[in-house]
């Protein structure tokens, strides 16, 4: 494990990235960030973070590669079946009462959660009146999300998760299998707006009834988590819903009092 100089160079690199490219990683959780930066050093064959910083500042394509190291989490469709069952059984009845719906999926990465939610809303008859904002800071991830193409060898796991999550049909009804990829039906994303948005630097852009932001806040420190949760609070309509990851909680947030636990064990909160 690297230490000493590494710990000095780390904030300098983050500052340089922020000044040059406006990406703000300065409030990311250190433990995961350190691992990712070590991997980036190895990938770009740099012996130190200073050497990496030199390349990041002078070679924009290295910054594009860095974004992949610093942001993309490979996600799964219907990760945590219980979460999607709770959405279907407990949250959807409330969503039905709105004539039109807006949903925000911040940190959507390569889109697995976007398609999971779109399928659920289609099966509940809500997708036609829903606008989904799928946002991320990584343009390459957003392109992949918009394409909706996933390797075929991942689909077996997705299908199993879909069934466990209470899916009403067969996942294969929603994609066309090619040589080694599954292409999801483009009608699923007709109401999806894929867009660049940073929880670290951008502000509220719409009023929404549901936000699902799962396993994104774990990469932030407490200060940045608070900033993001404040954005969620300001974006959600009164009695709107916030879904977090299985091990994420508002317990340690400054804004905990502004949300009620709606389905405690699945981390679904309701704006007061």
């Amino acid at each position: 494990m690297l230490s000493g100089e590494f710990d000095i160079e780390l904030p300098l690199l983050l500052e340089a990235i922020h000044l040059k490219y406006s990406y703000d990683f300065r409030r990311y959780a250190l433990s995961s960030l350190k691992r990712r930066l070590e991997q980036a050093m190895e990938h770009f064959n740099c012996r130190s973070l200073s050497a990496l910083q030199e390349r990041v500042l002078r070679e924009p394509e290295v910054m594009r590669g860095m974004l992949a190291h610093l942001t993309v989490q490979v996600s799964e469709m219907f990760r945590d079946a219980g979460f999607y069952r709770a959405l279907r059984e407990k949250v959807v009845p409330y969503l039905r009462t709105y004539p039109s719906l807006k949903v925000w999926i911040p940190g959507c990465a390569t889109g697995e959660e976007v398609y999971s939610l779109a399928i659920l809303l289609r099966e509940e008859g809500l997708l036609d009146r829903t606008l989904i904002y799928a946002t991320d800071i990584n343009p390459e991830a957003l392109h992949k999300a918009e394409a909706g193409i996933y390797e075929l060898d991942r689909i077996a796991d997705f299908s199993k998760a879909y069934a466990e999550a209470g899916g009403r049909a067969s996942l294969s009804d929603y994609y066309t299998a090619g040589y080694n990829a599954a292409v999801f039906d483009k009608s699923l994303r007709e109401g999806v707006l894929f867009s660049d948005h940073s929880l670290a630097t951008d502000s509220v852009f719409a009023e929404v009834q549901l936000i699902t932001c799962r396993n994104v806040l774990i990469y932030f420190d407490r200060v940045l988590q608070d900033r993001a949760v404040a954005l969620f609070r300001d974006s959600l309509c009164r009695k709107g819903f916030l879904g977090l990851g299985a091990k994420e909680s508002l317990t340690f947030s400054s804004y905990a009092a502004e949300f009620a636990e709606f389905v405690r064990e699945e981390r679904i909160y309701q704006r007061r």
Partner: protein, 206 residues
């Protein structure tokens, strides 16, 4: 019994136990032997199939006198608590010390990975953590244990001859030859002594 503590070693703020195949039995014995007033937080990571709730909590419940739970992201380490790594996340120690989670790629084909946990603890706690690696059939944990030792923390490895699966301890012994190699009963005593080390000076000072 603590043996060969390096000059920088100090009473640990956390004791980390990692294992894989055959580890649940050893971990049950170690945790079962801890007294109810054992203060030092214990963090247990055993490779298991991903499912919720985890099989580990079920296997250990009723065998340990201390509070047993899976930590949430950002949860501070609390005394007299045994934390179990949740399935399908990496578990890390961050500043505080508090827990951090990630869904980054598996390491050594494992998520959670023992290397990830041990290396993060070494980075944040340095000599103020102790690591134990027990039975397992893959080499995850060896590099992490080595990182704890290099940071000045105390480390122990289950004797491969005493372990249900020797590959994980053997990989660790190859990488950290100075670590204590202990039988299961000795690991139980070693962990208890680490906790006693923490409590005795405090009693004197308060």
């Amino acid at each position: 019994m603590l043996g060969k503590p390096t000059s920088s070693a100090t009473a640990p703020e956390a004791i980390l136990i990692g294992g894989s195949a055959g580890a649940i039995e050893v971990v049950s014995l170690v945790l079962g032997a801890l007294p109810a007033d054992f203060r030092t937080p214990v963090v247990v990571l055993v490779h298991l199939p991903k499912q919720r709730p985890s099989a580990l909590a079920g296997a250990l419940s009723g065998k340990c006198r201390l509070a047993l739970r899976e930590p949430l992201d950002k949860e501070p380490l609390a005394p007299a608590t045994v934390y179990l790594a949740p399935p399908d996340y990496h578990l890390l120690i961050d500043e505080g010390p508090s827990f951090a989670l990630s869904v980054d790629e598996p390491v050594n084909f494992s998520r959670p990975s023992i290397d990830v946990l041990f290396q993060s603890a070494a980075s944040v706690l340095g000599p103020r953590c102790a690591g134990v690696l027990v039975s397992g059939a893959n080499p995850d944990g060896a590099r992490g244990l080595c990182a704890i030792q290099q940071a000045g923390g105390l480390v122990a490895i289950q004797d491969p001859d005493d372990a249900a699966q020797g590959a994980m301890p053997e990989a660790a012994i190859a990488l950290c030859p100075d670590a204590h190699v202990l039988a299961t009963t000795e690991i139980c005593q070693w962990v208890q002594q680490l906790g006693a080390w923490q409590t005795s000076p405090r009693r004197g000072s308060t």
